[in-house]
């Protein structure tokens, strides 16, 4: 057993930390958020050049990482800047299905280089967080030389408005909520109708409508109708990345609150001298350690067998939601009014921390998923 980081990952961490410290202060983050695309292409390119997208993908896909611990290190580090560039959308949710399905290497190369963006168009209206809820259809009628015709509507597609490519899930058979009968397609984004909008905590998303989108055979990723395992794996990687990001945000919230408590005086003493606040900070720190442990556990299990992977990822995402809310709300409360202002950086970290619970399944969703996979594990042992 060894909990130290490998030399490569320590360097990755230091590189990211240094970039954020030197080149990504909160003012830059806020300026990037204000851009029409919701992020800064130049920043994105710089971060990609540092290898931070490549770190999320395995060598066989042109990257140099891709293990759970790589995701955990990168996303926790990026969180310290509340980075809005599309790491999750393009580097994880978008790139992973492509990396696993094989082929399309030039697209992947461009993604790793920060030159192209992929978005994962999977969630649908009425689908909430259900991983297999897909009403969009893919018909293989082969009209006019095309192999596939896609129809459907995808909702809250992260960075879907500016992506060059979409990974679209569609159903070739089965009922709307079934795991069987799903396929994934690589779709040039221009073929979809897209309506982009801001996300409440910064960043962009889009509603995506696919109307008779016709695709050649090579745009099917993997085997037709058998995409669910890859979708689940992709969502697990996304949930781990978000849990690690939440962890980084928690640490920032905690550090800023500690700093505030030490400097701000009330009734003639630093706020940090009040025992009731001290004990609440300790409870917060304790729960953050628990969240950290769950991220480490899930990271270590990400490439293992399915049940244990899903169980530990759901444990981590559950804690990211539960502890994330505690930390965000306590940090704001302990700061008092100043944390209610747009101008004060904490607000933005806390908002992102809260809203992570709305991405890829909230605290309750993952608790129920943890229960389901624990039952599976008990039944099989």
């Amino acid at each position: 057993m060894d909990f130290t980081l490998s030399e490569e990952r320590r360097m990755l961490l230091e590189t990211t930390d240094r970039y954020i410290r030197d080149r990504y202060p909160i003012e830059t983050r806020q300026a990037n958020v204000q851009r029409e695309e919701g992020f800064n292409r130049d920043t994105w390119k710089e971060l990609a050049d540092l290898g931070l997208v490549g770190a999320l993908l395995p060598p066989e896909a042109g990257g140099f990482g891709g293990a759970g611990e790589d995701l955990a290190v990168v996303f926790e580090a990026l969180a310290r800047g509340a980075v809005v560039e599309p790491f999750l959308a393009s580097g994880v949710l978008g790139a992973w299905p492509l990396a696993r399905a094989g082929g399309h290497t030039s697209v992947l190369e461009q993604v790793i280089a920060g030159e192209a963006l992929i978005a994962f168009a999977h969630g649908e209206p009425q689908g909430r967080y259900g991983p297999s809820y897909v009403a969009a259809t893919a018909a293989s009628n082969g009209e006019g030389g095309w192999s596939w015709t896609i129809n459907g509507r995808k909702t809250v597609v992260l960075n879907g408005d500016t992506a060059d490519w979409l990974i679209v899930s569609a159903r070739v058979s089965g009922h709307t909520d079934e795991e069987e009968g799903l396929s994934l397609f690589l779709v040039p984004a221009g073929m979809a109708e897209r309506r982009g909008y801001d996300s409440v905590e910064g960043g962009r998303a889009a509603e995506v409508i696919l109307s008779d989108v016709r695709l050649p055979a090579e745009n099917l990723l993997g085997e037709s109708g058998a995409a669910y395992p890859l979708i689940e794996e992709t969502l697990a990687r996304g949930a781990l990345a978000l849990s690690a990001e939440a962890l980084g945000l928690m640490e920032v919230c905690k550090d800023m609150t500690l700093e505030y408590l030490k400097t701000r005086k009330q009734f003639g003493r630093p706020l940090g001298a009040f025992q009731a606040l001290q004990h609440r900070m300790v409870d917060m720190a304790l729960e953050i350690e628990q969240a950290r442990s769950s991220v480490m556990l899930a990271a270590g299990r990400l490439e293992g067998e399915r049940i244990e992977r899903e169980r530990t990822v759901s444990a981590a995402k559950h804690l990211a939601g539960r502890v994330g809310r505690l930390v965000a709300e306590e940090a704001i409360q302990l700061h008092g009014g100043v944390a209610m202002t747009w101008e004060y950086a904490l607000a933005h970290f806390a908002k992102r921390l809260v809203m992570i619970d709305h991405l890829l399944g909230d605290e309750d969703h993952h608790l129920q998923r943890f229960m389901a996979f624990s039952r599976m594990q008990e039944a099989s042992s």
Binding site: G123, P125, V200, A276, G337, W342, E343, H358
Partner: protein, 399 residues
């Protein structure tokens, strides 16, 4: 013990309800219920309606032009208003300064200011909080130095709600920096915001909205006649006002309404093929909230009824403030949670009146996440919940 309203109270409620049904304009109620931004004119419209019925000054005695209501009547009125989608009454002149002037103001002040508050000729703002003072009012630093028949005021106020609509500011200033205790030596001044040296700067809150402000005061000359009560006794008046501010702080009507909204949203959201309201974990969260609210409503009525018997609201109002804010925050938390991914889309233009674009997700999803963030304030302002706990610990538990 009788937990039912008396026939008179019931008749009062019916009267209020009927009046609201007849008089409250539908478009205004729709804006309130839809979480749209309200403008100065919306509040003035509502005030005018109340004024025409004699219900504007709810905390004033009849002889001053007030409604002369019992605490139970105030409670019923608030509940009906929230249910009907009425805007709130802007409290600074009517519910804060008014009672202070009635209790401590000179006859001249009363004769001059009370009618102007009632008529909405003046829009008052509150100048209490300062940067660096937080809940510790006694440490305030804005100074008022006597210069002939004026005070010269210098300092900075913050969290001034709707200060950008106001023409008047009631303001705590330090008049004796050498007082034995820091809360002595504070005076209560009335300041004209058109005076040279008064500058209002917006504060944008974390939900992206502009509701509160900073007010900078630089060598502002304030006539000495604008002093309320005695010099250096402002702390007494401020405490009186803070007690007033806490009446109704439980926000029972607001939370009942919000719970109804939550139930509708959860029933409309689909989760594993069924309405989210039937998900056992989410339903249990809602039920716990509903039980807390049921109990708090009774608790609030007990305190209101005691106030009706002439008992001043004591530390119980601090307990109600804590529980009231917990319930409000939990309600907006569950509303946000209920929306799932649809909590994320942020289209600030849809909070504007007249917007008729296509929403993303459910029709009423728009303002929910921002309301959750905005609602973090209720456990901070008006004396943070930590300050309320200190008060209860000392004055109720004797610790």
């Amino acid at each position: 013990m009788d937990m039912n309203y008396t026939p008179e109270e019931q008749a009062f409620r019916d009267d209020v309800r009927a009046w609201l049904a007849a008089e409250l304009p539908n478009p205004l109620a729709a804006k309130v219920k839809g979480g749209k931004r309200l403008h100065r004119e919306d509040y003035l419209t509502w005030h005018a309606l109340l004024r025409s019925r004699g219900w504007l000054a709810q905390h004033w005695p009849v002889e001053q032009g007030g409604a002369g209501w019992t605490p139970i009547e105030k409670h019923l009125f608030e509940e009906e208003c929230v249910a009907a989608g009425a805007p709130r009454v802007i409290p600074f002149g009517l519910n804060m300064l008014g009672p202070v002037l009635i209790a401590f103001g000179s006859d001249t002040h009363k004769a001059h200011y009370l009618p102007r508050i009632l008529s909405d000729e003046d829009w008052w703002a509150q100048g209490y909080s300062e940067p660096g003072a937080g809940s510790d009012l006694a440490s305030l630093r804005t100074s008022a130095v006597r210069d002939g028949d004026h005070y010269i005021v210098n300092g900075q106020k913050t969290w001034t709600t709707l200060g950008h609509f106001a023409n008047k500011l009631f303001c705590l200033c330090r008049t004796d920096p050498n007082a034995a205790k820091p809360q002595e030596g504070i005076s209560f001044l009335l300041i004209d915001m058109d005076s040279p040296g008064v500058e209002v700067r917006p504060i944008i809150t974390l939900d992206g909205e502009h509701e509160v402000n900073e007010v900078w005061l630089t060598d502002v000359r304030v006539p000495a006649d604008n002093l309320v009560g005695e010099e250096n006794k402002g702390w007494t008046y401020a405490k009186y006002l803070l007690t007033y501010e806490r009446t109704g702080i439980a926000g029972v009507g607001y939370s009942k309404n919000a719970l109804g909204h939550l139930k509708r949203v959860a029933a409309a959201q689909s989760h594993n093929g069924a309405p989210l309201s039937q998900d056992p974990l989410f339903a249990a969260r809602m039920a716990k909230l509903e039980i807390d609210l049921l109990a708090m409503e009774m608790f609030n009525l007990r305190v209101v009824a005691a106030a009706g018997e002439g008992k001043a609201p004591g530390p119980e109002s601090s307990l109600l403030k804590i529980k009231g804010t917990q319930v409000r925050q939990e309600t907006t938390h569950l509303l946000r949670r209920a929306l799932g991914p649809y909590a994320m889309p942020f289209l600030p233009e849809q909070f504007d009146e007249g917007w008729n674009g296509e929403p993303v997700g459910p029709d009423d999803a728009g303002p929910i996440a921002t309301q959750y963030f905005n609602m973090r304030k209720v456990s901070i302002y008006g004396g943070s919940n930590e300050i309320q706990r200190n008060i209860v610990s000392k004055h109720m538990l004797g610790l």
